[in-house]
Symmetry: D2
Subunit: 380 residues, 4 copies
């Protein structure tokens, strides 16, 4: 198989013309699209409808090009969008394509696979049941990607369902026992269940450690490669698994690093080093250029998972994110950590997602990047 | 004269006990305080009352220690606070003290002076008249600091008055011609007038370039060291001027760098280099430490002025800060650029102020830091 | 012609199943839909994408039922949505249908017509040119509705285009002279141009009063029946005109009242009186009923246009809407005046739109309601 | 004793000149002030510092006039401020004064008393322990007011302490068991404990019904006269009790009504009727008057407690307050119900407080008003 990655700036969820134009120019074949991950300009919270809007718009476009009804497109292709492009960030999509190709060069190359859990019952959301289903789906995706060693998995994006306030209220009224007393809590627990599912599948935690009582409690349990979101627009967990495989053909490879805390800029430099990229080149050669013509960055996509430290401190100093009644903590932390990544990577098209509970070290998170493979003679 | 600088974390504007304790421990003499600059946990916009609250609280404390009525303290000492500790930032104050001391070591050392313009009439705010008064006050402050060469001035913090919606409405009703049709615009124009005043005093622009028509229009005109804020709580421009002088005694010196845009991380590394500080030491040795015990950073204070690029682009990519109806652009940009500075300097106590119109390059801003002087044998 | 009106609660702009079900139940024929007006759960500001999302979702549904491509549906049917269901308000749509029917009862009955201006150039937006095109479209709509007397026109909803920050910046860069220096201002000026267009067509102002210099300045000029919104999702002005005509068949009629200020509860009671409805019945018989079964209100739809008084006062007392950096003034005023209307009308499905510049008395606005026609023997 | 009530508009918490001027004009004697209740222009949430700022400012002023240190003033006089003047509301204070006077007219007259609980331990906050202490303080206040019959108590305002995110985190780290996992929850539980304390003292609930398990669970238990807020600025519960007594002298009396839901406008008309005031007079004679000169309303103060129905429905229709990530539900509901009250009472100086858990009927709340006593011959 051959993998390819396309990044497109998309400021309005109702205007997918940049993808239409890329298709028309022959840059990508819509029939080969297997997943789309992106940032939308909403608030990234329960009432963010930009995710659903962009999904509908993209499915309509891909459907027109492939003669498949847009509702079927949504069922087949994971569209995983995180709302909130706070600060310097740019709304954009990263389109993942795969097609048959037997000409692997034998070097570690980006491998891509997707999987879905069955539809989740309301009472399964945010609990072990969701995690178990997720783990099974991750195993399926690893198989599909042809990756045997969990160490070759560098990123597992999961989008799962959550409950709205009215669904929670309706459940309570009908005696149904659901997890989380409000919408925010439900979103968080869904992310945790997804993360634990990934961790279980990759051997980061054992099944007997996976208990409802550990959710949002035992933060020593986490996945180092899971990036989980939740939203009202899905009913099952959708999984996009990325890793490296010597069996795949393609121009890109992937790596990741844990972030110890929200200021862990070292993780970004180490990640560039893993990908054999020079930090100096990045930070010096991409000067302000408002005409849009600039040399292309060797980093094709970057994914950051982060959180507002729930202990209220960063390196011993208090932050105010958890007490702000006007700006949700997720909008705070995305804007902050997204800016650090954008500054080091010299690109504002960073996928940054808040809510890193049990995803990377407590109070920190994970940073992942896809870059062009180095020239063969630079290969480590 | 001897300069000293004290940085204190202060999360609640009504609780100034950290300063009270520092005074009790003898770390600083309240009678020597000449200025206080800080970040408060408000929204940093027109309806942010945390600035006035902290001013009142600090004036009460200093007044009790110096037997001067707190209202007189407010008239004598500039308290310049910027609201908004978005993202990783920490509410804090930097206290500047000066006292007579003849033992200068002859090396460039932090020099501090303050000055005030006369009270400004509503129709002067945001116009050349305010700039002219500001320029005169800056000259007075340079004289007081014993700095002759404008190149030795590294930071001029100015706080000036602005008009509220009801004041603007009242002015219109009474036929008074005031600048700016709403409170946000009035705040911006006041910052511009202050910046142009600094630029004029330091020779960065000439008086014939200083015309009302250039305000928010000709962005090639700017000051490279002005950091201007505005708020309803003052009636005149208050100025804190910082620079280096070989005549002063003290442990600190200061430097600054322009930021070309919001991602200009190079400016931060260059600033560290100017201050003869190693970036590696900073980014590696300050690991997450929630106990609060950690080695002290050699950077004692940092000041950043930044803005959401009004052209809507950062390095050719769109940002969403100017179209967000829920989060003011200033909250966006402070959180983003503040995080970049905090990550490089490994400290969340960064003074970040938005609204950098005519303060540093258009779309970028200025970063300034105060650090311990290097050991004499390292002196360049 | 026969008019009919259908109100449907619609909380998620991506879920139009309530309309699908009404169609399936035969309650309305999708081929007869001529306009949809509604409230969506977004913020109602520049970056509110719920309006476009709901438009796309409804057009897809209607397109499937009528075998017309959804993009053609959007061109034919005005979908006029106002974002922001602050406070007690409920996201909902009001669907207007017309079909041939010769059996008028000779009493004043709701008449409906739509019209569109040509696509507007960026430099026409927010200026007299937009108003002139709007006036012509209003005249076309009056003709189509069979209304000769402007006094029989009770509501003219207009949605027009506005410019985003990046469009304004691009225009400035290319030397194009556009109205309004930022997105908020552009939205306001577009609403004014639409309102003046309505006023001109209905004889409320004369053409020589219609000058760019009156925009947002001379508030004695206004339309008493215009309700104007603006958004990035349209390129021409779309008009929905509602009035009473004795030539039409149908169960409903319409009336309106000016609101003198945001507290003008009398206007609501007078409007009920105009429609021969008892206030007591309304406020007493609609007790809290969480099961959803309740007797139907005689008021089928209500439309409110309101604004945060730009002088900063309501009945001599200051309000804080214009100085709030966290909550846009439109979110404030919609929540407030919407609640007053909902309390008097005993229904939370009120269309409330902010930005009433030159629409109704300065600082106040307009309230309009559609109700079942009284029994013939009650007819005035 | 003689009671008097003074209402003053106060837009800036740092500017208490309206009270200073009233004192100078001899309208009120600062030595007779026993309580101040008011609305400040903050967000009314955890990070609202306008409450503390106004408290400090008022205490400084009263302290200067009474030669008592301002910190002692804060300990003696309850300053109970609710942040958030959303929509049409006006920041203001209501000052309550009492002084010896033997000339009661024998008619029901406003009686005022205050009381304080001991300082509450962190683990008592939001639990039965806080309620028990509150009940005892309410009994003390009733005694001090000379009210024997609980039916004569019409309003018990309580302000209690809550825990910030960092305090909760610190408690967890030290093994201290505190109620509520985050700041918002802690605020809510503190309000409940206060309400249950009032209900217990007034016989609305029995002690065996008062169990931690009923908090935020059994909404059939509530007080019909409690109005409870919580904030980080107090360490004990402060109580202001208002009722009618034939033993007191004064010009005012008080009454209250339950609100069945957020649209219960009938409650307001019934309240006016209780106070023998004509609704027509109120709604007709207070026309928009921007000069500030207008006849005085017979309603001297109004207090509303309300909440966003946690079941997500109002009269069977969904609201969006609980799912809004940008605007806190309290800002929504205060703006909505405050506007309804302001419209009926024709005055924007309404004290509206959100968070009505166990204060009035579930999903509704309480409205209370103080008005001039009717002329004796109108006395019922």
């Amino acid at each position: 198989m051959r993998s390819s990655v396309h990044r497109l700036t998309l400021t309005d969820p109702g205007d997918v013309s940049p993808l239409a134009e890329a298709i028309e120019r022959g840059e990508l074949n819509p029939a080969t699209i297997v997943a789309v991950i992106g940032k939308t300009p909403g608030n990234g919270l329960v009432n963010d409808y930009t995710r659903g809007y962009l999904t509908q718009s993209l499915a309509l476009l891909i459907g027109e090009h492939t003669a498949i009804h847009w509702r079927r497109i949504i069922e087949r292709i994971p569209f995983i969008f995180s709302g909130g492009t706070e600060g310097v960030l740019t709304p954009h999509i990263t389109v993942f394509c795969t097609e048959p190709d037997g000409n692997s060069d034998g070097r570690p190359t980006l491998a891509i696979a997707t999987a879905f859990t069955p539809e989740l019952a309301p009472q399964a959301i945010g609990r072990k049941a969701q995690a178990m289903d997720t783990a099974e789906a991750v195993r399926v995706a690893m198989g599909a990607a042809g990756i045997d060693d969990p160490a070759d998995v560098h990123f597992v994006q999961v989008k799962g369902p959550c409950l709205t306030a009215s669904q929670i209220s309706a459940a309570a009224a009908s005696g149904l026992d659901v997890a989380g007393g409000n919408a925010d809590k439900s979103m968080a627990l869904s992310r945790v269940a997804s993360a634990f599912g990934v961790a279980l599948a990759l051997g980061e935690i054992s099944e007997d450690q996976l208990d409802d009582s550990a959710f949002l409690k035992d933060f020593t349990l986490y996945s180092g490669v899971a990036s989980c979101s939740s939203g009202v627009e899905v009913r099952c967990n959708e999984i996009v698994l990325l890793g490296n495989s010597r069996k795949w053909a393609g121009d890109y490879r992937i790596s990741h690093r844990p972030m110890a805390d929200a200021l862990d800029i070292s993780a970004l430099y180490e990640l560039l080093d893993d990908l054999q990229l020079e930090p100096i080149a990045l930070s010096k050669s991409f000067a302000q250029n408002t005409t849009g013509t600039r040399s292309e960055s060797p980093v094709m996509a970057a994914f950051v998972k982060c959180e507002a430290d729930r202990r209220g401190l960063i390196r011993g100093q208090p932050h105010t994110m958890l007490n702000d009644g006007d700006m949700n903590q997720q909008r705070h932390i995305r804007g902050a950590v997204g800016a650090i990544a954008a500054a080091v990577l010299a690109d504002t098209r960073i996928f940054v997602s808040g809510g890193a509970e049990h995803q990377g070290p407590d109070g920190g998170g994970i940073v992942t990047a896809i870059a062009r493979k180095p020239e063969p003679d630079l290969q480590s």
